[in-house]
């Protein structure tokens, strides 16, 4: 019966089961843990609402065809900029990206741009409020700059070690 549920639901159910077992073993500690969880979730809620609002606005303006247009064949120097921008605004999980990038690669997208696109995915406006909430503005700014810098460097390194069409 459990097999028909997606993995994320199974994970959530497993955590609930873990709490039930923990409650049987040590009720007091489990109640404290549950209280901490509720507190942490309630604190995170306003940030999450903001995240999904930003995501919604992003989806209105960013279409998959745009990524294809700016990252495809003959994108030139503009492609490096486009790879950075596209990765910033694409907030889906990585495993969804691979088949799509394979398609783009078949149509002429360079390895260096794929690396930039994949490695710059920590800098996303939708998630930045959560980063600021947990780590502070100072961390968020320095971290995002380092990620962006490394994403570009990784493009050059991939071009050097792998080549553009391997």
């Amino acid at each position: 019966m459990l097999s028909r549920f997606p993995l994320r639901i199974k994970f959530f159910l497993l955590m609930c089961l873990l709490y039930v077992v923990a409650f049987i073993v040590t009720p007091q500690k489990t109640m404290t843990a549950f209280g901490n969880f509720v507190q942490a979730f309630v604190q995170m809620l306003p940030v999450l609402i903001l995240v999904f609002l930003v995501m919604f606005v992003g989806y209105i303006f960013l279409k998959p065809e745009m990524i294809h247009r700016y990252l495809g064949e003959d994108s030139g120097k503009r492609g490096w900029f486009a790879a950075c921008v596209a990765s910033i605004f694409f907030s889906g999980p990585t495993y969804i990206l691979f088949p799509y990038l394979k398609e783009l690669k078949a149509q002429g997208m360079k390895n260096s741009l794929i690396a930039v696109f994949l490695n710059n995915r920590n800098v996303q406006p939708a998630f930045v409020p959560v980063m600021i909430y947990y780590f502070g503005l100072r961390f968020a700014v320095v971290f995002c700059l380092l990620v962006l810098g490394y994403a570009l460097l990784s493009g050059l390194l991939i071009r050097h070690f792998v080549g553009e069409e391997a």
Partner: protein, 135 residues
């Protein structure tokens, strides 16, 4: 507009059970491992980010989940070095996803990209901690 709303709802459906589950797990683990974190993460400039990178590399999920876990770990006394490496490697190194990546983008590309990201996740963590010493 309708398409954007549907995609956002799908994202909420995907993210919320994982985020809630992670918070539940962390709250429980916090009570058990609280006293051990400071013993494992001593502030060593190589060892801390190395552990953070290894854990981040074998984890899979949306980037926002790594911030939640990282924030909680930081509160529990894990060093910034380890947490930065963990957050960075979470999205850039995907050990679990390597077969899929290799199938889509090629073996050499996958091995070099993940290898570089693993190494640089330690370097980035060191750089950030170094910058923080002067900010």
């Amino acid at each position: 507009m309708k398409d954007a709303a549907q995609r956002t709802i799908k994202n909420i459906e995907t993210s919320i059970p994982i985020l809630v589950g992670i918070l539940m797990l962390l709250s429980l683990l916090e009570l058990i491992f609280d006293q051990y974190y400071t013993k494992i993460f001593t502030g060593n400039w190589l060892f801390d980010p190395l552990i953070g990178t290894i854990v981040g590399s074998i984890s899979v999920g949306v980037p926002v989940a790594s911030y939640v876990i990282g924030g909680q770990l930081l509160e529990q006394g894990v060093t910034l070095l380890a947490v930065t490496a963990f957050v960075f490697s979470w999205t850039t190194v995907g050990v679990m996803l390597m077969p899929l990546e290799a199938k889509s983008l090629g073996k050499k590309f996958t091995l070099v990209r993940n290898g570089l990201n693993f190494t640089f996740s330690i370097v980035i963590a060191m750089c950030l901690s170094f910058v923080f010493k002067f900010l």
